[in-house]
Symmetry: D2
Amino acid sequence: MGFIGEAHMAMQFNSDNVARVHPKVWAAMQAADSPDKGYDGDALSQRLDAVFSDLFGRPAAVLWTATGTSANCLALGPLVQPHGGVVCHREAHIETDECGAPGFYLHGAKLMLAEGAGAKLTPNSIEAVLATVKREIHQVPAQAISVTQATEYGLVYRPEELAAIGALAKERGLGLHLDGARFANAVAFLGCPAAQAAGPVDVVCFGGTKNGGMDADAVVFFDPEHADHARWRRKRAGHLQSKGRFLAAQLLALVEGDLWLTNARAANLAAQEIAAAAKERLMHPVEANEVFLIASRAERESLRAQGFAFYDWDEHSARLVASWDTLPEHATALGKAIAAL
Amino acid sequence: MGFIGEAHMAMQFNSDNVARVHPKVWAAMQAADSPDKGYDGDALSQRLDAVFSDLFGRPAAVLWTATGTSANCLALGPLVQPHGGVVCHREAHIETDECGAPGFYLHGAKLMLAEGAGAKLTPNSIEAVLATVKREIHQVPAQAISVTQATEYGLVYRPEELAAIGALAKERGLGLHLDGARFANAVAFLGCPAAQAAGPVDVVCFGGTKNGGMDADAVVFFDPEHADHARWRRKRAGHLQSKGRFLAAQLLALVEGDLWLTNARAANLAAQEIAAAAKERLMHPVEANEVFLIASRAERESLRAQGFAFYDWDEHSARLVASWDTLPEHATALGKAIAAL
Amino acid sequence: MGFIGEAHMAMQFNSDNVARVHPKVWAAMQAADSPDKGYDGDALSQRLDAVFSDLFGRPAAVLWTATGTSANCLALGPLVQPHGGVVCHREAHIETDECGAPGFYLHGAKLMLAEGAGAKLTPNSIEAVLATVKREIHQVPAQAISVTQATEYGLVYRPEELAAIGALAKERGLGLHLDGARFANAVAFLGCPAAQAAGPVDVVCFGGTKNGGMDADAVVFFDPEHADHARWRRKRAGHLQSKGRFLAAQLLALVEGDLWLTNARAANLAAQEIAAAAKERLMHPVEANEVFLIASRAERESLRAQGFAFYDWDEHSARLVASWDTLPEHATALGKAIAAL
Amino acid sequence: MGFIGEAHMAMQFNSDNVARVHPKVWAAMQAADSPDKGYDGDALSQRLDAVFSDLFGRPAAVLWTATGTSANCLALGPLVQPHGGVVCHREAHIETDECGAPGFYLHGAKLMLAEGAGAKLTPNSIEAVLATVKREIHQVPAQAISVTQATEYGLVYRPEELAAIGALAKERGLGLHLDGARFANAVAFLGCPAAQAAGPVDVVCFGGTKNGGMDADAVVFFDPEHADHARWRRKRAGHLQSKGRFLAAQLLALVEGDLWLTNARAANLAAQEIAAAAKERLMHPVEANEVFLIASRAERESLRAQGFAFYDWDEHSARLVASWDTLPEHATALGKAIAAL
C-alpha cells in the first residue's frame, strides 16, 4: 500500500480527498463487519452522541453522512425555511462548490453573499448583507449565518471572532452553522478545545473524509429537535446508509483517540513547512493545511515538471493542499522547489 | 471476523443489510487506497461504463451512489418532470420505504399507485392507473413506470413480462425504470443474461450493498443524456463522494468476476431451503432470497426463542431474508424449526 | 350583460366557474378603483381580518388569493413539512384536480389517501391510513388532515362529524385544514353559524370565486403564525397581486352583507329542485349545489339535445352543477327533462 | 371614480400599481361576463395566440397570469433545470423583489448576478459571470439569461443591444427571457415594432397590470413546447384561474386597439416632464416612466408636504413613477416643485 516508488505518481498536493484512509480507520471499519441493526440502529452509531457531547462539552445529537455537501445541507435544514436565506461568504463552499445543493435541500432558499478577506465573515460584513433586506414581504428574510472553519482559504476564526458573530446571530434571531470540513485543522492550529474553536453555533459539520476517513462526516446538532428534523431529511435524501455502522466506525476511530487531531497536525505541519519557504508568495496567511501560492504559469509548470501535483487556483496562483499522509520529505521538497523558483 | 461462536448473536434473517462485506470487496477497496483523481475521475470509476456495457450487452453510462434510495431517485430524475408522475406498485420501495425521497428528488412529482399480486405490475394494472388520468391540465400526467426486480415480495419478473410492460411504456411514451436492489437475486433465479432479466428498460438500479458490498449501488443508464442529467443531480444531492474510487472498487469487485451472481445464488439457495420446509406457510412463491412466512405470534416467538432473528411482516406473518453470507447450517436449522412448528 | 335570449347559449350546468360575477361584486370592485397602497396594504385588504373574525367568532388572520388551488396550498404550508404528509380523501380536489400543486407548494410532501363514502373522511378512515405508517424514519409521517366542506360529491359534514375528526387531529398532533371552495353551500345547507360548519380547524379556505366572485378566495387562519408563514409563501408563489384591493373588494362584497349565503342558497335551491325530480337516479344525497346523476350515454345525449350543458362524470353518470345565477326556470326545465327520461 | 378633489389623496407617484384600471379594460371585463368554458378554454383566451403573434410578427403561444412574478417564473421554467442557473442583473426584479419566487418555481435553480449601469446587462457583464463557472460538476451551469425591458431603473435596451445579448445567448446555448413588466413603456420610448424592442428572445413577459390592467400579464412564448411546459406549471402553481376569460379580456383590451401604447406614452410623457425639470438631479436618464431623483431627506419632505406621494429609493434619492393615469397637471406641478427645491 502507498505510492512511494510508483514512478507514475506525482507528489500529491491536489486535495485532501486524494489522501488515503488511515490504517486505524480501516481497522475500525473491519471490526464493524459483523451483523448488527441496520441504518443507524447499530451499537457504533448509537455511541456517537456521547462521544461528540464529550468533545464539545455540551449535549449533542449526531448524524453521520457520507459527504460534506450533504452534511452542510442537512445541518442548515432545521435553521432555514424554503422562503428564507442564509448569509455566507461569497466564496463559501456551499455557494461555489456544491452545484446548488443548498437550493435543492432547502427547497429554493437563498444564499446571501457577504464579503470578507480570506473568505472570513465579520459582524460588519454580515450586517452589510442584512441591511440590503428591507423588512418586508418582497425580499427573502435571512434566517441563518454559515461560517467555515477553517475557511476556504485556510484561515482560522479565533474564538472571539466566532463569539462576535454568534452574538450578532443571537441578536438578530438567526441560526448559526459551521462548515467544518477542515475543522480538525482549525482546532490543531488554535490549540484550544473544540468547543471554543466552534463558537456559539447551533450545528457543526465535522469533517472526517478529508482527515483520514473514507466517507464519513458528522453533523453535530446542539438542539435535539434539529437532529430529529435532520433524521427525516437524511433518509429522504437517500443518505441513510443501510450499513451505517461503517460510517460510525470511521468517526469513532477518528475522534475517540485523538486521531483526528494527530492527522490534522501532520497536515498543518506540512503546510507550514511549505509556507515557510514561500513567504513572499503567500496570498493568505497559512493557518491550516492549504497554501495559496502566487506563481506564474511558467513557475507552476516548473513545479509540476519536478513531480508536484496540485491545482491552479487562478491564472496567477496555485492551491497546495497537504494531507494527513503527506510525506514530510515531499513537503520539504516542495518548499525547496518554491524557494528556488 | 464473523459471528459464529458469538453466543449473543442470533442466526440472522433480519435483512440483507445486516450481512457482512465480502472479503473480495474488502480487498478491492483496500487496493483502491492510493492517490487518484477525486470524485469519479479515478481509474476505477472510469471503468464502470465498459464493465456494465458488457454486462448488459449494450452501451451503458454508469454512476455509483451509496444507497438504493438515491439510486432510484437519480434514475428517475431524467424520466420525470416535477409536474409528472411515476406509475409504480402500491408496495414499491419508492412508495413505502424511502420517506418521500422521490417527492424530494423529483420536486413534487407524484407516485401513481398500481395493484398487482406479489407487488408485480402488469400491463393491465398499469393501464388501470393510466385510465384514471384524463388528458388534461388538472391532473398529473404519467411520464414513467417503475418496476422492481425482484419485487418487494421476492417475486421475479419473467423476460416476457418485462417485454410486455416495456411495449406498453413505449406505446404510451413513458420512461421505464428498474429498481434492482435485488437484481442479482433475480438474475440468479432466471439463469438468463442480465439484459433479459432487465428487459427493455431505460435505466437499471443495480444493487451492490445488499449483495456483499458495503455502500455501493450502480445507476446504469442506457441513454447517455440521462446519465449527464444524473451527474449534476448526484452532486447536487451530496452523493458525489470525493473518494469515489472506493465505491467503484466495490462494484467492480462484484461484477468483474461474477461475485455478484455467486453471492446471489448462495442467498437464493438458503431461501429455497427454508421455503422447501415451509411450503404450506408461504405467502408468495420464493424466487429470490426472501421468504414471507405465515406464522402466528406464538410461532414467531418460538422461532426467536430458538435463536433466529427476523422481522415481523404483519400480525400474521414474518419476513425471513437470506444473505450471501447466511450459513447453510443456519438455513437448514431454520427450515427444520419451521417444519416443527 | 347576461345570456338569456342568446340562442347559442346552453342552459348552463357545467360548473360554478361558468357563473357570472355578481353585480354587487362588480360594484365593489369598481368602488375599489382609486389609488391606495399596493399589494395588501390597502384599506380593503386590511379589513379582512376583522370581517372574518366576526364571521367565525374567533380571531382570524386572512389572506386573499385568486384561486382555490393556491388557497389550499398556502393553507397547508404552515401545517406540513416537506418530509411530512397530509391525510385526505382519495377523491379530494387537492389529490385529483390540482395537477400536483400540493407536491409543488409543500416541496414534495405526500398526500395520504383515505376512503369514505361521498368523499367524506371519518375518524375510522383516517385511522386506517395512519395505521399504515409505522413510527419510523422510512415512512412519511402524517402531519395534517384535510377535509372538504362540502365534499367533492356535494355532501356536507355535520358539526359533530367535524368535531370527531378534530378530536382525532388533536389527539394525534395533526393540523386540520378545510377546503371550503363550496363552504358557503355547506353553511347554507346546515343553517348553522360558519364556525360550526367549519369545526375545530386550523385554517379554512373560503371560496369566493364559485359563489359570485371573479377571482378571490380567502385563506382564513386561526393561528397568526400560520398567516405570517403564508404571507411569505403567497409572495413567493407569485400570488401577491399588486392591486390586491380588487380581491379584497370581492370578498368583502360577499361576506359583509350575507351575499355569500344568498348566493349559495340560490344555488342549493336549484340543485334541490333538480334532485327532487331525479330521486332514483342520484348517486349521492344532494346537500349542496351539485347533482350526480345516473344516466346512460343516450340519456345524457337527450338532455344535451334539449339544451342543457353539463359534464359527464363517468360512463354512467353526469355532474350537474347549479350556480348562484342559475335561472329557476332552467332548473325546473332540467328537473322535468330528467323525470321524462 | 377617480381621486381628484379627494383632499386626503396625495398626487400619486408611488408606483404604477397604484394606478387605476382603464375604463376600456373595465368594459372588456364586463363584456366577458357571460358563461363560457372555464380556465383558458374560453373564446377570449383562445384569441391570445393570434393577437400576440401579430404583435410580435412571429408565431406565439400565450398564457395569461395574474402577476409579474408568476409570469417571470413560468417563463423561465422551460429554460432552466433545477440544477441550472439564470444570469440576471444584480438588481433585477427576479433577484430583489420576488421573495425567492424563482428559487421556488425553478426548484432551487440559481440566479447568477451580473453587473451593469442602470441595471442593464451587456455581453461583457454576462461573460464575466459565465467566466466564474468552470465547466464541471461542482458548479451550477448557466442555462438562461434574463433581461428586463425597461430595466428596474427605467432604462431601455436598444434593439442592437438586445441583438448582441441574443447572439451571445445563442453562441452559449442559453435561453433568453425578457421581463417586460414595463415593456410597453420601452416600446413607446423606442418607437419601433414590439419585435425589435424584444429582440431575439425565447419568451417575453408582457406586463398589463402596471399599464391600465387589473391583474393580467401575458407570457408570450415563441416555442410551443415551452408553452406546453408552462401550462402544466401554471396549473400546478395555482395560477390557472377558473374564470380566465377576465384575464384574457384585459389583455385583449390593451393590445387589440393600441391602448397599451397609448397608456405607456402617457406615462412616459409625464415622466419626461418631471425629468426635464430635474436634469441635474437625475440618477439615470429617463427613458420610460420612472424618475430616480437625487434629493436630500429635507427635500423629499418638502415635496411630500406639497402633496406628492412617492417612495424613497435610498437615503439620498427618491423614485417617482408616472402611470397611464397620472394627471398632466400633477406632473407639471411635480416638475415645478423639484425645480424650486
